[in-house]
């Protein structure tokens, strides 16, 4: 099979307590929605990492059609971006190698990073750079929730960054649509001779309902 590893990395620190129910509802709906969207469901494996003071693989990479429900996030503790990126790198390395060993072709992994964007560890850039330097460096799309720091969200993203609009009750539908658009773009062929070496060439809609796109170039 051709498989796109898809990770949701979610902030469940104490500062997210006001938004954690919304985020859980969003993850629940996202699971329901994308597991029935064949564009995503047939090609992707989904993993969930929660992070606060530490990071945990709440759901190891799985075929969503084999999963009844996702574990819930629980808000507590600090906001260690460094632990999140470190665990994410380990998970990606392990998962991609396992998929390839099983005979699958693997697309470059995609990460949805959702946070209120206030890291409490000052040295998170090192594990972040190690993640980007790894063999299976993922595409990272960062979503700022609640009172997220726009500049931090933009810094984490390698491809797109979005800030949640005030009053957006449930971003699940928006995330699903974005995930479908992103998946289609990733698997579509691109002309190689002209675009090789130019890095990302994904074409996705910049408009995610309920979110405002954050330009990475200006920050």
């Amino acid at each position: 099979m051709q498989i796109l590893p898809f990770y949701a990395v979610c902030d469940e620190s104490g500062s997210m307590s006001a938004d954690i129910d919304t985020l859980n509802k969003a993850l629940f709906d996202l699971h329901q929605e994308i597991s029935t969207n064949p564009t995503i469901a047939d090609k992707t494996r989904f993993g969930l990492i929660g992070f606060s003071t530490d990071a945990h693989e709440l759901q190891p990479l799985v075929d969503l059609s084999d999963l009844d429900e996702l574990p819930a996030l629980e808000a507590s503790g600090l906001t260690s971006f460094g632990n999140a990126f470190g665990l994410l790198r380990q998970a990606i390395d392990r998962d991609v190698q396992a998929l390839k060993a099983d005979g699958h072709d693997v697309y470059r992994p995609v990460v949805f990073f959702l946070s209120d964007g206030v890291p409490t560890d000052s040295d998170w850039d090192r594990p972040y750079q190690e993640l980007l330097a790894s063999s299976f460096r993922p595409h990272i799309i960062a979503f700022g929730i609640g009172q997220a720091d726009r500049s931090v969200i933009a810094r984490v993203a390698t491809f797109k960054a979005f800030m949640q609009d005030e009053g957006t009750a449930n971003p699940a539908v928006a995330l699903r649509e974005f995930a479908a658009s992103l998946t289609r773009s990733i698997v579509r062929s691109v002309s190689g001779a002209t675009e090789a070496g130019q890095g990302m060439s994904l074409q996705v809609d910049d408009h995610v309902p309920g979110f405002t796109s954050v330009s990475l170039d200006k920050l």
Binding site: M1, G103, R108, S191, G192
Partner: protein, 412 residues
């Protein structure tokens, strides 16, 4: 054993399509389906026996035996002891039951279930794709692109030429069907004099008008090849590979130039027409064993010989390091040169499979698919409907358009 005698473990039959009896327009499977539906009946009844003549044996259900012509599996044509339940319609009425069912009185029209011929699409692998197996939304005219909206979901073609029997199909992938987008692939079968040109092309998915590119490049290449058919034929006869490769590169470049001009005349950048291309040239003379091959970009050329698959493009895969790369060379601009060569070791009985990456990738990666298709294609060439059904075998995660041309070399 013919293509319809495909036994499965347990003694059942693989649900293959039966022989096509309903008149249809060549290359238009949508009309074919409509025709079958209008008749409410797939195969037409067998001709009535002449007076005093015993009913033909073929009019009964006979699944084997010397009276059944090769490749022919008669279906029951009416009530009586011969009407049996086919294994692929176990949930529905027998043919005889549905034909003789009483007509309901006034009320909503309830249509009987279809006969499921040539049978529901099947899949290989642990799970079937999540996508619907058949097309749903019909592509609308988008941005004034009448050409894209007019492209049929599926085309099928075929014929005989010199030593080869040709079957070709181009089928819109699940992904494009689900998004109500048009087919970006195309397949071509054309003859110019004593030369057969078959080709497939795959419009690059990231480009807006790549379906114009794929359909355009095979048309424009045909024009170029037709102008030099005699020369190409001479190179094939003499096995002059260097000359062949040089000329094919010039012809592909000329076709690419024409394609770029078409894009510009349409007010679009040539890049928006980006497409791959794969073509084979076959001389009519069965004494000439050489086949010409040319390609730009990803896709596949495979050979099925004595039940075993061979990848004739082993060094040209699309892997970029450890992960899948979707980058590909493409016409009209993003390529350096076409890869052109002769296939010099063709044997009678070989099958050459020329395909876009929609089929090449699963065929190269999925052993179960190679086995499935190998069992079916390692025989006499199937009928068009059967070939189309086989081409559409489903494999989860492979949802791209598929285009394929198969050349069955005459058996010894």
């Amino acid at each position: 054993m013919n293509a319809y005698d495909n036994q499965v473990p347990g003694g059942g039959r693989v649900p293959e399509p039966g022989p096509e009896h309903v008149p249809s327009r060549k290359g238009d499977p949508i009309d074919l389906a409509a025709s079958v539906y209008e008749h409410g009946w797939g195969p037409a009844p067998a001709p009535a026996p002449a007076q005093g003549e015993a009913p033909a044996e073929e009019a009964r259900v006979v699944v084997s035996g010397p009276v059944v012509p090769e490749g022919f599996l008669p279906r029951p044509i009416g009530p009586g002891p011969s009407a049996v339940r086919e294994p692929w319609s176990a949930d529905g009425p027998t043919v005889a039951e549905s034909v003789t069912a009483p007509v309901a009185g006034p009320g909503p029209v309830v249509r009987p279930p279809s006969f499921r011929e040539p049978g529901p699409l099947t899949h290989v692998g642990r799970k079937a794709p999540t996508y619907p197996a058949e097309p749903t939304d019909i592509p609308a005219i988008s941005g004034g692109d009448l050409f894209g909206a007019l492209l049929p979901d599926t085309v099928v073609d075929g014929g005989r030429f010199g030593p080869v029997t040709v079957r070709a199909a181009s089928v819109r992938g699940d992904g494009h069907r689900y998004a109500a987008e048009c087919r970006q692939d195309t397949a071509l079968v054309v003859r110019t004099g004593e030369l057969l040109l078959v080709a497939v092309a795959d419009g690059v998915g990231s480009q807006s008008h790549s379906h114009h590119g794929s359909h355009g490049i095979v048309r424009l290449l045909t024009r170029q090849v037709a102008r030099k058919a005699e020369t190409l034929l001479a190179f094939l006869r003499s096995g002059a590979e260097t000359d062949f490769a040089g000329l094919m590169n010039r012809l592909v470049a000329a076709a690419a130039g024409d394609l770029a001009q078409e894009a510009e005349r349409a007010g679009l950048p040539p890049k928006s027409y980006s497409t791959t291309l794969r073509a084979l040239l076959v001389p009519a003379d069965p004494a000439v064993p050489f086949r010409g091959f040319v390609s730009v970009g990803d896709g596949g050329l495979l050979r099925l010989r004595e039940g075993g698959w061979q990848n004739l493009e082993a060094a040209e895969g699309g892997e970029d390091g450890a992960l899948i790369s979707t980058r590909t060379d493409c016409l009209p601009e993003a390529y350096e040169h076409a890869r052109a060569r002769l296939i010099t070791d063709t044997r009678p009985g070989d099958l050459l499979v020329l395909c876009t990456d929609g089929l090449a990738l699963p065929l190269l990666k999925e052993a179960e698919l190679r086995t499935w298709l190998g069992e079916r294609w390692g025989r006499e060439a199937p009928g068009l409907a059967e070939f189309l059904w086989q081409t559409q075998v489903r494999v989860r995660s492979y949802d791209d358009d598929r285009s394929v041309v198969c050349l069955w070399e005459a058996a010894p």
